[in-house]
Symmetry: C2
Subunit: 311 residues, 2 copies
């Protein structure tokens, strides 16, 4: 039984055709940067049609960049998609364009976590968190073997948990949320601010005037850049603090760490995060941190898993 | 069908006889402060026997001060019980003393949360957290209508979540866990340290050389004591930070706030915590904070709910 999974991201849209739990084909498109929701939907339809021109797939799962209103397929305002400033019924719009076939919509990080749980680093572990550190920081929760959505579809928003409470904020950046220390966007802002205050770094030179992509951060660490080392170490510590809190609050047995920044910073970063989590662990809870294994089709494969049982 | 619920605390043991979801009788004993686990078990049996001399109750639920190993009825080392420095099979020991009747054991804060969910401030809300601020700080989670224990029985340990990450620690007290700011035991230590450093307070005068019980803290707030106001405000802020993180991470619709300190500090404290949670809230998540309603039999009633369906 064939199904299709789509990972709709701010820059690219990835679709996979899955049969017998194997990826049979994939298609990639650039997500439009201008226009509105219908242009984005159109791109998704073109990726699907390219992959499966005869409409063999019985159902379509899609991961989208934001929390979905549970049971509705609606994605409210999404800052990373063009003109997406209101509730958009992604499920209904797509289904209409795809001959009325069922479409299930969930958060991109949720489906990424589902893929790691069912087919990747989290196989066989029923209580785990998938943490993805990229432009921002998000997570998905598997509790007793099931993906938790939460009544408002907000479960897993670890990037918005607080790692410093009011009186302890050390600077003017954000309100002490994890993302303020560990998201690529915030890290870039923070680096720029430090340079404005007279600090030195190779980061902006390496980027040649462009954005500080994950690759640039990894190169700057490699080059022994002091400012980068400090910011990356803070990011690891903030991640470890937030994840250790999640572990003790929810009782989790495994952490799967992925996302562009975590993947580029590699094994030493994973190890740094794991060590601090262990140090912060409580009672008999020992919780390893494994690198995500599903790579760049993880989100799309996870989205296909949303409709795995559909016939 | 009659059942019995027991709340085994570090200072008192409360037992209730429940029939048709109503408390028919209650019994209270002092928990022994010396001796060992068998003395504690003996006290529990005496409370139960006093309440139900003919053994009418079909099953017994008990809440204990520490995380229980799921499915076993075993309470490992519990610092608040005398000589309890190893795994003790509370369920088996009690069942043996009670004619082989079934005994279900869970964490005291979990059963307190269950009572609030089924019969108290959390009625009708399927995704909620019960936070109890007393000597320490603990919580219970109701997710999709069910009490979460977690694979290791550790779910809900909010007192050990981190509200400040490494670099932001402002003083030498603890490692930045919620309990370091909001637990009565830590607050007393913190107050004593501030006095040693030259600060002034009415706290120790009010306590007359005794421990700083919750009542003393409430009186010092009432008296306009500056040091107390600062520490209590920090406690509220730390609680709000940790609870706001839990809300956004798990997607919770309601907070029920109880425990000795929270109850004594009363409505103004609840309001202070709620306001900061609202201020820190993310997206469309608005989560009220209600005061716990079950009072001092809440734990015992919740324990009885563990065996509600037993026949």
């Amino acid at each position: 039984m064939a199904t299709i999974g789509v990972d709709l991201g701010g820059t690219k849209t990835m679709a996979v055709l899955v049969e017998d739990r194997s990826v049979r084909a994939k298609a990639k498109k650039s997500t439009p940067l201008t226009g509105g929701p219908l242009d984005v939907i159109d791109t998704v339809v073109r990726a699907i049609t390219k992959l499966d021109p005869d409409g063999r797939a019985r159902a379509i799962g899609i991961g989208v960049p934001g929390p979905v209103i549970p049971g509705t397929g609606v994605l409210p305002a999404a800052p990373n998609l063009p003109g997406w400033d209101h509730d958009v019924p992604v499920g209904d719009l797509l289904s209409e364009r795809l001959g009325g076939r069922p479409v299930v919509v969930d958060n991109d990080v949720n489906v990424g976590t589902l893929a790691e749980h069912r087919l990747g680093a989290g196989m066989g572990v029923d209580n785990m968190i998938g943490v993805f550190a990229g432009t921002g920081v998000g997570a998905g929760l598997i509790l007793d073997g099931n993906l938790r959505q939460g009544p408002r579809g907000l479960a897993g928003e670890i990037g918005h948990t607080f790692v410093a409470f009011r009186d302890l904020r050390s600077d003017g950046h954000g309100r002490g949320e994890l993302e303020d220390y560990a998201g690529r966007r915030s890290l870039e802002r923070r680096a720029r601010c430090m340079v404005d205050q007279g600090d030195e770094t190779v980061l902006f030179e390496l980027a040649g005037g462009g954005r500080l992509k994950s690759r640039i951060w990894a190169e700057a660490v490699e080059a022994g850049d002091t400012l980068t080392a400090k910011l990356v170490d803070d990011a690891a510590s903030a991640l470890a603090s937030a994840i250790a809190s999640a572990i003790v609050l929810i009782d989790l047995e495994l952490v799967v760490l992925g996302g562009g920044m975590a993947e580029r910073l590699g094994e030493s970063f994973r190890q740094r995060v794991e060590e601090e989590i262990m140090e912060r662990s409580f009672a008999r809870a020992t919780t390893p941190v494994l690198a995500a294994r599903m790579g760049d089709t993880g989100g799309a494969v996870g989205a296909a898993l949303l409709v795995e049982g559909f016939r």
